[in-house]
């Protein structure tokens, strides 16, 4: 372990890696400060830039964007009341009233420190939890892996969106899309119908970019029609006192740690993530507070809970990815993709075969958290001005970047045609309230699920082994429980929706 740690640090602490990480942090902060420009989009657009980098440099740069993104969302949340990313929705509840009451600098500084501590806690938990979990995961067989993917898909489908049926539908649609192209075991062409466009299947990055960037940008344009023009993002005078905010943040240690742990836990659950973590952490802080009535009026407790909660999901999301090879969110899926582009297989053996890379990633998380803190504290006023970019510029520029990202992966023009098709389909689905996250996870997990199912049955044709092997059975029971829990939750919500 020590050897791998030092080898990872050796690769990480080079001038070029640290420079690209710094750029990544700046890009992440700016990108997620722009309303409508999500962390996922920022990460997706960073990916093609990392193709020519060494594996650790590439993934460290993307982690920097990731960690920076969770902090950047707070800027527009605090100053405009518009969450820069969905993971900073709860930040608007108190940071915005605080800013409106003449303390925008306090709101921002509290958010920055809370984000830093959240990211720090999550990196520590990641370092402690991921290696032992991976050691257990190495012992999993094809049966357990298939059951694990079933569990992950049910959790994702039941957590995301309003209708579980629609979540399951898009998840399965993702699984099907992954079957187009060459069969992973026999290499037989499936559903290609001798069409060049389909010959290589749907590369999951093209699906990811099309679904999350193109369809989202089209929705941004709808909003642009209703957006007030000339609204200033930055108030004229921002009094920024970071040391006072540090003292104030540390005055709520239990809130800080509890919210961070909520973030780590939610981040580790596939399909959950920052958008749920910040709301849950906020809710827990409100329940535990001596003055819950002050929540929503500009209390520092609310800002601390939301920002530490959402930043902590960054490390939490890496736990299932590193230990099990299951991406917890779209962002983790792109991180996974960046490793796969470099020919590095993802799964429980990752930590055994590429220990230096994994420990390098752990250290990159820590380093990124420190970089975000320094960058935000010293450049906040500058960022506030840079991020005031109109949508008429952002939308076309990001669409061009999407085309570059889709093309650069395989140098195939057909991939950009697929991008257009997937983007339009994603837009239609999102207009009809179908959650898109399960679709992307389905595309990623599809080949893993199919390969393991077929391997399991090749080893032993007895399909009851899925139900008789203890870990496999436990995972399948958990899948059923997650579905039952989601149905119960929805049935409970129905009467209140009707009365509303």
């Amino acid at each position: 372990m020590t050897e791998a740690l030092f080898a990872g640090m050796d690769q990480l602490f080079t001038l070029s890696t640290m420079a690209t990480m710094l750029l990544g942090v700046v890009a992440g902060v700016i990108a997620s400060a722009i309303p409508g420009f999500t962390i996922t989009m920022a990460i997706v657009l960073t990916l093609p830039l990392t193709f020519t980098m060494a594996p650790l440099q590439g993934i460290a740069t993307m982690l920097a964007v990731y960690v920076g993104g969770y902090s950047g969302g707070l800027i527009s949340a605090a100053l405009l009341g518009i969450p820069g990313t969905p993971s900073s929705v709860a930040t608007t509840f108190d940071a915005f009233p605080m800013a409106r009451s003449g303390q925008p600098g306090r709101a921002l500084a509290l958010g920055i420190w809370s984000s830093f501590f959240g990211a720090l806690v999550s990196a520590i938990v990641l370092i402690i939890a991921a290696p032992p979990l991976a050691m257990i995961a190495v012992k999993l067989g094809a049966w357990e892996y298939f059951s694990l993917i079933i569990f992950a898909m049910t959790v994702v489908a039941s957590l995301v969106g309003k209708s579980m049926l629609k979540g399951v539908m898009t998840g399965l649609l993702g699984l099907f899309i992954a079957t187009v192209g060459a069969d992973p075991m026999m290499g037989v062409a499936r559903f290609t119908f001798d069409i060049d466009l389909l010959a290589n299947g749907f590369p999951f990055l093209v699906v990811l970019i099309g679904i999350f960037a193109v369809s989202q940008l089209l929705q941004e344009v709808e909003d642009a029609e209703q957006t007030q023009h000339g609204k200033q993002l930055i108030p004229a005078n921002v009094a920024f006192k970071p040391l006072d905010a540090l003292r104030e943040t540390l005055a709520y240690p239990i809130n800080l740690i509890r919210s961070s742990l909520v973030g780590v836990f939610i981040g580790a659950v596939p399909g959950a993530g920052g958008s749920i973590a910040n709301l849950l952490a906020y809710d827990q802080a409100k329940r535990a507070s001596k003055t819950p009535e002050e929540f929503g009026t500009g209390t520092p407790e609310g800002v601390i809970a939301s920002e530490s909660g959402n930043s902590a999901t960054s490390g939490g999301g890496l736990i299932p990815m590193i230990a099990l090879g299951i991406p917890g969110s779209a962002v983790d899926a792109v991180l996974m993709a960046s490793l796969m582009v470099h020919g590095i297989g993802i799964g429980p053996r990752l930590i055994l075969d590429h220990g230096d890379l994994v420990y390098g990633m752990f250290m990159a998380m820590l380093l990124a958290a420190f970089m975000v803190l320094v960058v935000c504290l010293f450049s906040m006023r500058f960022f506030l001005r840079v991020t005031n970019v109109p949508r008429s510029v952002i939308v076309p520029v990001v669409l061009v970047c999407c085309v570059v990202g889709a093309f650069a992966l395989n140098n195939r023009v057909t991939d950009i045609y697929l991008l257009l098709g997937v983007g339009i389909f994603g837009y239609i689905l999102s207009k009809l309230d179908y959650p898109l996250a399960p679709l992307v996870l389905g595309v990623i997990l599809g080949p893993i699920a199919e390969t393991n199912l077929r391997r399991a049955l090749m080893t032993d044709e007895n399909w009851t082994l899925f139900f008789t092997r203890p870990i496999s059975l436990t995972l399948l029971i958990l899948a059923v429980v997650s579905v039952a829990f989601a149905i119960r939750q929805r049935l409970r919500q129905r009467p209140s929706e009707k009365t509303a």
């Binding site: 037989v188 029609e225 983007g423």
Partner: protein, 181 residues
């Protein structure tokens, strides 16, 4: 990923608006899921013709067939749900589709430009196609004042010629060249 979910819901939820929209939404679900059922059923039959293997009990077609079968059931389930919504809401006032299309004209305009851009990339090359797209899309999205037009021109050149240079000379990835390069 899920980080997108709440935002999508708030932006795309037309359902909560009025009975007119609810009925139209239900109809859209019925059409989409109906089309998907037909597509998936066709693919299910097609998958049956995929070769099996003598080395494994499941052939190339088994997993896709399993997924397609469940998908068809779920699509039918959604159709039943939406049929109830469709029946429980009154008929939409005339002109709803026209109003909806008009409200989304900017998104459709940008989509049309984006489609043209993608089609023209192999023909014109990345640089020229991107330049035209960036100029036209910024104009479509409301850039009008002389200063904004100047900024739009700089952005168009930077993200067409500049991006091409960055990928070609720095990352050694050649973007489509086209006949004019």
């Amino acid at each position: 990923m899920s980080s997108q979910a709440p935002l999508q819901q708030t932006r795309s939820s037309d359902r909560g608006a009025d009975p007119d929209t609810r009925r139209a939404n239900a109809l859209a679900h019925l059409v989409l899921n109906g089309a998907l059922v037909v597509l998936f059923a066709t693919l299910f039959v097609h998958a049956g013709a995929l070769p099996s293997s003598m080395w494994e009990p499941l052939g190339s077609g088994s997993f896709p067939r399993l997924v397609l079968a469940v998908l068809i059931m779920i699509n039918l389930g959604i159709m039943v749900q939406e049929w109830r919504h469709y029946r429980s809401n009154t008929a939409a006032a005339p002109g709803l589709v026209r109003r909806w299309l008009w409200r989304h004209r900017l998104a459709f305009g940008v989509l049309a430009l984006f489609a043209l851009y993608i089609i023209s990339v192999p023909a014109l090359g990345f640089r020229l196609a991107s330049l035209f797209f960036l100029v036209l899309a910024q104009l479509a999205l409301g850039v009008r004042r002389p200063r904004s037009l100047a900024i739009a021109a700089v952005i168009a050149v930077t993200f067409s010629f500049g991006l091409d240079w960055l990928f070609r000379d720095v990352f050694i990835i050649s973007l489509p060249r086209g006949p004019f390069s």
